[in-house]
């Protein structure tokens, strides 16, 4: 064994793990008056699995960023503590998904030994993605009554394709934009006096716009539309460095949203609720207001884990898990969460800048942008900076599709990190 043990990762995992275990113990003591092993056994199993992943990585001599895994484990661990406290059933299932997620992350890491393979299969990837979208458009089901038909599946097993689609889109765009990077130097086509983006940009731009509008109109899913379009715009900007295309794209999307606002009552309600939830505190504004009250109840240090009443907020275990954390652990911990995301994003971009190929750089930046945008969209929605949309808080919220997708994303980032360090 070479001397390349991931010591930093060991320390971070152990200290982070110890902290979330304390959280679980506190929750157990507060809820039941004693330490119930069942209350934190799932967390212990997950932490053990994370440690196993760490040992495997170390033994395999994997180099590269040692912060990504501990941050993900810390976020997931905090989420699991609160899920176990909110509803042991959800917590149990989440723990299973999280362990499975670690396996998927490892599988992704070891299967993408040559990252360039992904580049070659970009059109296959795009086709799979489009088929998924098509299926969702046609057979999508509305499982939680939100009005958005996001789920595919039958017989009790359901999956949210838009989750996986995020990663597929980033991989495809990274490959596609990398391939057509040369075109950047060429002049643009013109439609009269209006300069148009080059065809290789124009086509995906139109496709993406169509996809996003389709999500808006057919699936009523503003969150996913925002997320996808955001990812696309960010990567287009990364690849081209041109603000003009961005402005055109953003303007077109804004126009679509405006039309949707005028034409689709659901959107109108949602935007009106965003602007003034206080007008209907027991109607459409209820979730938003109850979420804010829960946050306010927490104050600086929170009511104590297990001692608040976050159960009054609808969807508190998924989209609104932040308010449960805010109520029981206070601003101190919610700011800590934000800091974890900030470090994660910072490390991702650092990785992108150190990558050895444009494809790897685009891929790393794109993947981390998925996390960045999604985190912002849901937190901003809960805090009324943006209209509320149904998006999970990455790594923290309950949800199998979300965990699987984010695990693939983590596996890819670990692979890119290892590659950035050069051949071992």
């Amino acid at each position: 064994m070479r001397l390349s043990w991931r010591l930093r990762e060991t320390g971070l995992l152990l200290s982070g793990g110890a902290l979330v275990l304390c959280g679980a113990a506190i929750a157990s003591a507060a809820r039941r008056g004693e330490l119930v092993p069942a209350a934190f056994a799932p967390l212990l199993v997950y932490l053990a699995a994370a440690l196993a992943v760490h040992i495997v990585l170390s033994l395999a001599g994997v180099r590269g960023d040692q912060l990504l895994l501990p941050i993900v484990v810390a976020l997931s661990g905090i989420g699991l503590v609160f899920l176990l406290r909110l509803d042991p059933d959800f917590g149990m299932r989440q723990a299973i998904w999280l362990v499975l997620g670690l396996v998927i992350a490892m599988a992704t890491y070891f299967l993408t030994r040559r990252i360039a393979v992904l580049r070659r299969f970009k059109y296959s990837i795009a086709t799979v993605g489009l088929i998924l979208v098509g299926l969702t458009f046609l057979f999508g089901q509305d499982l939680n009554g939100s009005g958005a038909r996001l789920w595919l599946g039958a017989g009790g097993i359901y999956f949210q394709p838009s989750e996986l689609l995020k990663v597929l889109l980033v991989v495809f765009l990274a490959a596609y934009l990398d391939e057509h990077a040369v075109i950047l130097s060429r002049g643009a086509y013109r439609l009269g006096p209006v300069p148009l983006p080059p065809i290789p940009y124009l086509i995906p731009l139109l496709v993406m716009w169509g996809l996003a509008v389709g999500m808006l109109v057919i699936q009523r899913d503003l969150g996913a539309a925002l997320l996808f379009f955001g990812i696309f715009v960010a990567m287009l900007y990364l690849a081209s460095g041109r603000l003009l295309y961005l402005s055109v794209a953003v303007a077109a999307f804004a126009a679509a949203i405006w039309v949707a606002y005028r034409a689709i009552p659901i959107f109108q309600n949602r935007v009106d609720t965003w602007l003034n939830p206080w007008a209907q505190p027991s109607g459409l504004g209820m979730q938003s207001i109850q979420g804010l009250i829960a946050l306010a109840s927490g104050g600086l240090f929170g009511a104590g884990i297990g001692l608040g009443r976050p159960g009054y907020v609808p969807a508190v275990h998924t989209d609104f898990i932040l308010v449960a954390i805010g109520e029981e652990a206070g601003l101190a911990v919610t700011l800590g969460l934000i800091a974890l995301y900030a470090v994660f994003i910072g490390r991702g971009f650092r990785l992108a800048m150190r990558s050895r190929s444009t494809f790897a750089a685009l891929l790393a930046a794109g993947l981390v942008t998925v996390i960045g945008i999604q985190t912002f969209v849901i937190i901003a929605g809960v805090l009324r900076l943006l209209p509320l949309t149904g998006v999970t808080l990455p790594f923290v919220s309950y949800g199998g599709s979300s965990i699987v997708t984010n695990s693939v994303l983590l596996g890819l980032l670990l692979r890119l990190a290892a590659d950035a360090e050069g051949p071992a």
Partner: protein
């Protein structure tokens, strides 16, 4: 690329700022919102303090269910006007509301204990209230109101030396247990509906069971107000106790009424007697004599003394009180009717409206040195560990009248019971003082309200009371015997 990274970090920065805004800046306002379910939840899990009568018998207690929710129980439902009740629809009332801070355990903690509790999340246990109420006397008061014709009524009895309220009865009553939300029930919606239905039933009842008639019922006082006139005349030395009235009375008509100046009907005793002393003028409620006393005193003097006895101001009290007033119009005593106004007021007619509490305070003042006491219901507040965090301190409120005046009025009130319309309250061997009042309701063809105010005893003033039975006829037949029930209980050791 770094710009994109910066943009995302700025987004997170905005989120962090927004978190601070909602969790800290807007926190107090949001937490205080009525639709914050945590407030109710906290209320339903707070082990509120108990209420006891002055001898330690329970009046309100809290039962804790295994799941941590608590049920508030009122073992003496007829004291609903005192204890109050609490539910999410109507909030809190009565002492539950007035002493919520102590009952819920928020007040009376030293800062260090309060901090420890918050830090360690120790369950809050509220402080107990020791009330001035005496359940034996309360039972007697309820019997007194039930005596005779069934009618809405009110009785308040207090210790004239301290103002401690010993009994507070108002009928019809309601059951505070049925108006208090019970979170230990499985079906909260059904519980809420049951409370709403009961509340609607009470509100639809024309007799207004939720009205605390002792402190919020405003009634014409009738002849009981001659007590004020008597005190004013003696205080200003207009007459002495040996004063004698002589009237040239015209022959009585069929209705035993005689015509008095300004065509006002007045009457006295057997209506043929031309000469009587001050005590008997009071004991037999001679309108003409008291109208003359008032007229001679003049409105300004009369009103000043009446106000010194608590009229036109609400006494400080733990429960909501209505202000007893001398007139309903501001110019009643100065306008065109001014001569009539003072004469009518002095004999107990006019426009006055009083609460039973106010008349009880006037009776108490006469029984005990001339100053109306400050009424109160809470003697002591104790932490569960026995530590006393509040003890009632006697307070001064109004000047009242001199002790000499009060003693003279007291003795005349004793005469009124031993030889007058108030004799129904007589108890052999005890110097009971009192005055009846029969408040006729202008023009309406209903029976008048029957009043009694008085005290027991002149030598040892233990109890002063005022009672009213609405539309129940002549006071001497209805109210005086009812008062006797309470006096007997008080002299028997109940207060």
């Amino acid at each position: 690329m770094s710009r994109l990274a910066l943009l995302q970090l700025m987004g997170l920065g905005a989120a962090a700022a927004a978190l601070g805004y909602w969790q800290i800046v807007r926190s107090p306002e949001l937490v205080a919102r009525a639709d914050n379910p945590r407030r109710l939840d906290e209320q339903w899990r707070t082990v509120r303090g108990q209420m006891f009568d002055r001898r330690g018998r329970p009046i309100a207690r809290t039962e804790v269910a295994p799941d941590g929710y608590v049920r508030r129980v009122y073992p003496v439902p007829t004291l609903g006007a005192v204890t109050g009740f609490m539910n999410p629809l109507q909030g809190m009332t009565g002492l539950e509301r007035a002493y919520d801070d102590h009952l819920a355990g928020r007040a009376g903690l030293d800062p260090r204990t309060a901090f420890e509790r918050r830090l360690l999340h120790r369950p809050v246990v509220g402080s107990d209230l020791i009330l001035t109420i005496d359940l034996d006397l309360q039972a007697a008061a309820e019997r007194a109101l039930a005596n005779g014709p069934a009618a809405p009524g009110a009785l308040i009895a207090l210790d004239p030396r301290s103002g401690a309220v010993r009994a507070l009865a108002t009928t019809p009553t309601f059951d505070p247990n049925r108006l208090t939300f019970d979170p230990t029930k499985d079906d909260w919606n059904a519980e809420r509906d049951a409370i709403a239905a009961y509340a609607a039933e009470l509100n639809a009842n024309p007799a207004q069971p939720l009205l605390n008639r002792t402190t919020q019922g405003l009634y014409p006082p009738g002849s009981t107000f001659k007590t004020v006139t008597l005190a004013a005349a003696l205080q200003r030395h207009l007459v002495r106790t040996d004063h004698r009235f002589r009237y040239e009375l015209k022959p009585p008509d069929r209705d035993h009424r005689t015509v008095w100046h300004n065509n006002q009907f007045v009457s006295c005793q057997n209506h043929t007697q031309r000469e009587f002393d001050l005590a008997h003028a009071f004991a037999y409620s001679c309108n003409v004599a008291f109208a003359d006393l008032g007229s001679e005193l003049g409105a300004p003097t009369y009103l000043e003394i009446a106000r010194g006895l608590g009229m036109d101001q609400a006494p400080p009290f733990d429960l909501p009180v209505e202000t007893s007033r001398l007139a309903s119009r501001p110019d009643f005593f100065t306008g065109d009717e001014r001569f009539y106004a003072i004469a009518a007021t002095a004999m107990g007619q006019g426009e006055m409206l009083v609460t039973p509490l106010q008349l009880a305070l006037i009776a108490a003042a006469m029984a005990n040195g001339g100053q109306p006491p400050v009424p109160y219901l809470v003697e002591e507040i104790r932490r569960p560990d026995g530590r006393i965090v509040f003890k009632h301190q006697p307070r001064r409120w109004l000047g009242g009248v001199s002790s000499g005046t009060a003693a003279a009025v007291r003795d005349i009130m004793v005469t009124s019971v031993s030889d007058g319309w108030a004799s129904g309250a007589r108890i052999a061997g005890a110097k009971i003082g009192g005055k009846t009042g029969t408040a006729e309701l202008g023009g309406v063809r209903t029976e008048p309200h029957a009043w009694f105010i008085g005290f027991a005893t002149a030598d040892d003033p233990r109890i002063a009371l005022a009672l009213i039975k609405e539309s129940s006829g002549m006071s001497s037949a209805v109210a005086a015997p009812a008062a006797r029930i309470v006096f007997e209980a008080a002299l028997g050791g109940a207060a």
